[in-house]
Structure formats: structure tokens, C-alpha cells
Subunit: 230 residues, 2 copies
């Protein structure tokens, strides 16, 4: 009986490893395109809000800084709303009929840990939603207001994103990508390409933050020496 | 036969969960006190080296900065040597007869993931050894030479330590502390108290770094305004 149930369970979900325990999985009754359109629209709205905020910034922003504001606000949205939703609903996500559950069911083809309440994934995503999300907003605020908080916030956000992502990908690599559907569409299209974005951009922003903090601290040090001399 | 083997395996190691798969476990043939004395001596030597470096620093260091140099160099030693040893030898650690394997066999009473090549633990410790270890040295160098690299390095080291530790403890908490021997000596004496150190000190040093970077960036910003005005 148990074996029969197990076989049934194996057949009833599309994820890897094929024997992942997912008794609560229910296939989506919604149209996946609707979920993608909703996600795309939400990102577009966030970008428009970013553009409005940029246009009203006290100081004229460089092109790079404009991109950083957009990046940080889009990240904040993804971290707090989408990843926060996962962290909050991970236990029931595989059987929920909502647009966000649909998006996670789709992404889980590239990583079934999102369907199985994998402890590392849940804790990491919870921290990402709360900490990375908050500091992404602080960074955008820092750029828009030319605040000295900008670079430490940029360093914290990007370092947390990069470390979380390296752990996330590293564990899957060490386990032989067993959570990932080996089809190139899921492996490269979802798993590699989507996570690569959160490896490349944060790495650049960490260097950018360190370089600017180094320069600022050097100027501050010299200013202190001049002040002492006078 | 398999069940008999499994039962034998359950009896043949002292770790939690009691059914952890550890066929390669071999009890230590060395005296655990020797391992502790070796660890204590290594930390003492690192502290003496720190004191020598502090005495030869270009600038007279504050008491706080002296502590930070000692902390960072002791951390670098623990991360690179002890945790590096684990990351490098995790597969065979449970059966090795060396002082460092002994230390890990002892600590593993509070967390058996160190004996079972748990993927999260291996990847996290590998990153800690390489990245946290290197940046801890850069931080100590930054304090000793009064370099502008000091605070970004302090922020990176401490944030990596704190994030790694929160994930490490969070996963065990989510899994009901199943990897930890519930005896108060191991639970509080090893697991809670040792990890608490790497929660409290990095948290303080993150705030300290952010505060100092904020101040420095503010001075740099004002200096730029003054320069522009002249």
C-alpha cells in the first residue's frame, strides 16, 4: 500500500528528483501566461515608480545611479513580495491556486526545493525578503537623496544577495543538480540564467560600493589631518 | 541484513540524530584534552602575534581597535585553519585520527552535520574559510595601517559571519535541533554559546562599520561641496 502510494506520488508531480515527496502538490488550474503577464506588469509598474522618483530626485543622477535605483526597487519588490510570499506560504505552496503559487510552481521546475519546504531555502528566502529587501529600499533612498547611507546599504544588499545565491547554487551543484529538471529550458533558461543575474550585478555593485567607500574614507582621513594641522 | 547493518551503524556513533548515516565513523584514539590544549595554544600564539603587530602599528590604536585586531586575527585563524580543514576533509573527517578531526568530532556532538558532509555546512564553511578568513586579515591590516579599506573589510567580514551563522542556526532550529545532542553541556555549552559569540560580535562590528562609513561619507560629501564652492 505504501509503495503503491509512493509510486502514485512519484507520478503526480513534474519535479526533480522524480521521487521528491510532494503529497500536497496540485497542478495549476490557472493559465501560466496570466502569471507571467502579472509578474511582468508588476515589474513594469515598479520601473515606472522608479522613473518618477528619479525625476524628482534632489540631485541630478548619473545614468549608472538611475539604473541602480531601478535595480534596487525591482529587487525590493521581488524579494519582499515574491520571495516573502514563498517564505510565508512554503508549506502549502505546492497546492495553492494563486498567481504567485503558480509562479513558484513554474520556477520549481528548475529547483524543487521551493515545493518541498527545504529548510535552507526557506530560511535563506525569509532573510532575503526581510533583510535584502529592506536594504535594497534603503540603497534606492540613499541614491535618490545623495545620503551617506547609500554605499554601506548597497554593500549590505549586494553582499547578502551574492552570498545567498552562491550558497543556493553551490548546494545544488554539490548535490549534482538533483533538484533541477535537466531539460535545457529549465536548467539554462531558468536555473542558470535567472540566478546568474543575481551573481553578476551584486558582484559589480559590491566592487562599486567598496571603491566609493574607500575613496570617501580616504578623503575623510585627509580632511581630519588638515583639520588637525590647522 | 541491511536492517542489521543499520542498527549496528546506529549504535556505533554518539551523534544526533541517532540514525545519522555514519559508516566511516571511528572513535578517537587520541586524548581530547590534547586537542583542546593544542587549540588553546594556537589561539594564544595568534593573540601574542596580534599583540606584537599592535605594538608596531604606525598609529596608536584605541583599546577598541586593539580588540578588533585580536578578534579578526583569531577569526582568520579559526576560519582558515580549522574550518578550512573541515571543508577540505569533510568526507573522511569522521574516521581521521588527527588533532583537528578530534576537535570536529567533539564539536559535532552539538551538530552532526559536520560528520555527515551536509551540503549546506560544507559550502558555507568553505566560503567562511576563504572569504571571511581573507577579509578578517584585510580588516586587521586596515586597522593596523589606518587604511580606508578597514571599514568596508570589517563590514564584509562581519556580515558574512553573521549571515552564515543565522542560516546555520536557523536551519537547525527549523529542523527541531535534530543534529544537536540535547544534553545541556552540548546544547548550551557548545551549540548555543559558541555560535552566540559569532552572532553578538559581528552584529556589533556591522553597526560600528556602518556608523563609521556613514560619518566618513558625510565628511567626504561636505569636503566635495567646499571644494566645489572654492
Amino acid at each position: 500500500m505504501d509503495t503503491a502510494k509512493e509510486t502514485l506520488n512519484k507520478v503526480l508531480h513534474p519535479y526533480y528528483p522524480r521521487d521528491a515527496h510532494l503529497p500536497h502538490y496540485v497542478a495549476s488550474t490557472l493559465n501560466i501566461n496570466e502569471a507571467f503577464i502579472t509578474l511582468g506588469s508588476a515589474i513594469t509598474v515598479t520601473m515606472i515608480i522608479s522613473a518618477v522618483l528619479i525625476s524628482q530626485a534632489q540631485k541630478k543622477l548619473t545614468c549608472k545611479d538611475k539604473y541602480i535605483v531601478v535595480w534596487m526597487l525591482v529587487c525590493a519588490g521581488i524579494h519582499m513580495v515574491l520571495e516573502g510570499y514563498f517564505a510565508f506560504n512554503h508549506k502549502n505552496l505546492a497546492g495553492m491556486q494563486t498567481v504567485m503559487a503558480d509562479l513558484w510552481r513554474e520556477y520549481s521546475h528548475s529547483d524543487s526545493r521551493y515545493m518541498t519546504s527545504d529548510p535552507f531555502t526557506v530560511i535563506m528566502e525569509g532573510i532575503t525578503a526581510l533583510v535584502d529587501g529592506s536594504f535594497a529600499i534603503v540603497t534606492a533612498y540613499g541614491v535618490l537623496t545623495d545620503s551617506p547611507i547609500r554605499y554601506p546599504a548597497q554593500l549590505i544588499t549586494s553582499l547578502m544577495q551574492l552570498y545567498g545565491n552562491i550558497l543556493y547554487m553551490g548546494i545544488n551543484l554539490m548535490e549534482g543538480f538533483r533538484y533541477t529538471n535537466p531539460h535545457p529550458f529549465y536548467f539554462y533558461g531558468y536555473f542558470v540564467s535567472m540566478n546568474a543575474i543575481w551573481m553578476v550585478v551584486p558582484t559589480y555593485l559590491i566592487f562599486d560600493a567598496c571603491k566609493n567607500i574607500y575613496r570617501g574614507m580616504l578623503i575623510a582621513k585627509r580632511a581630519a589631518i588638515v583639520k588637525k594641522a590647522n
